[in-house]
Symmetry: C2
Subunit: 176 residues, 2 copies
């Protein structure tokens, strides 16, 4: 599954020109609502507390629809009347990442809402250096040459960070 996050288009409906990739158009308000509802549902099912701060942080990530830094989230929290000390944001983010509702992008020191919460998760990201959009795709790191190398050494992979940097189809032509 592929899900593209266009930072520069966050307030637009994607047009065919903007998403010439077959990325699905979507009703953004609806995808925010659905994301929140899914997280709420899954938290309840797991006996976890989907508190207001956690909800708000996930809402920000879903709304922004791109990789967002912790301090930017903090600004949003402040505006929304929440406390605005760093630990507030980092704790909420830790919860969301642990539960698989969001991911950390190591390359950017930033966070992004998960494109398919609920799946058994081995996310990989395509990061455009032109427009900072981030696309999420899933893969099993145990597959392929990488998994083979790990297995050959007896290394037990618990988590894999897979982040590709390059140019998305929209930015590639502009970079003459």
């Amino acid at each position: 599954m592929i899900y593209h996050n266009m930072s520069s288009h966050q307030n637009d409906r994607p047009t065919p020109e903007e998403t010439p990739l077959g990325f699905a158009r979507h009703d953004h308000a609806k995808c925010v609502d659905q994301g929140l509802a899914a997280a709420e549902e899954r938290s309840r099912a797991a006996g976890l507390r989907f508190t207001p701060v956690r909800r708000k942080v996930l809402e920000i990530l879903l709304r922004e629809h791109r990789a967002v830094g912790a301090y930017e989230i903090l600004d949003n929290l402040r505006e929304a009347g929440f406390a605005s000390q760093p630990p507030v944001a980092y704790r909420a983010l830790e919860f969301l990442v642990t539960q698989g509702f969001a991911h950390r992008i190591e390359r950017l020191n930033a966070f992004i809402a998960c494109a398919s919460p609920g799946d058994d998760h081995a996310p990989a990201f395509l990061i455009c250096r032109g427009c900072d959009s981030v696309a999420e795709t899933h893969m099993r790191p145990s597959d392929g040459a990488f998994g083979a190398a790990a297995r050959a050494t007896g290394f037990q992979v618990e988590r894999a960070v897979i982040e590709a940097e390059g140019l998305c189809p929209a930015c590639a032509p502009e970079a003459s």
Copy 2:
């Protein structure tokens, strides 16, 4: 090619017990010298300046034989009589990474000497959360499911970060 960096054993010759994986024993002083010589040679061939600071930073990385943070490198530089402001280390590291003599480990915000400089490079790392050792292996990210997903969207991958976290064979048993 696999190359394991054991932080906790940095002053020892690896013993069979410490490297039960088939990782090659090696003469560490020699591997430092060879790494420096290779970098010097390749810099000269490319018309680049392999200056004392750059050489010293690469020497530190080769000697430590593990992922090392920029500020730790800075401490080493100070002790060696070099300037010790952050930009000094970061600039040297940028050079080494750009030239492929070292890699940045995003997950650790740290740097490590390249295990096979000269190769056409798509490094992947196995990071042990038990002993902080880092093994480097190479792969072509264009292979497998990941490459397929990128190609399907028209995304041009320029660089890929592939970092697996887990337990190395030495640490797996201890984590009952």
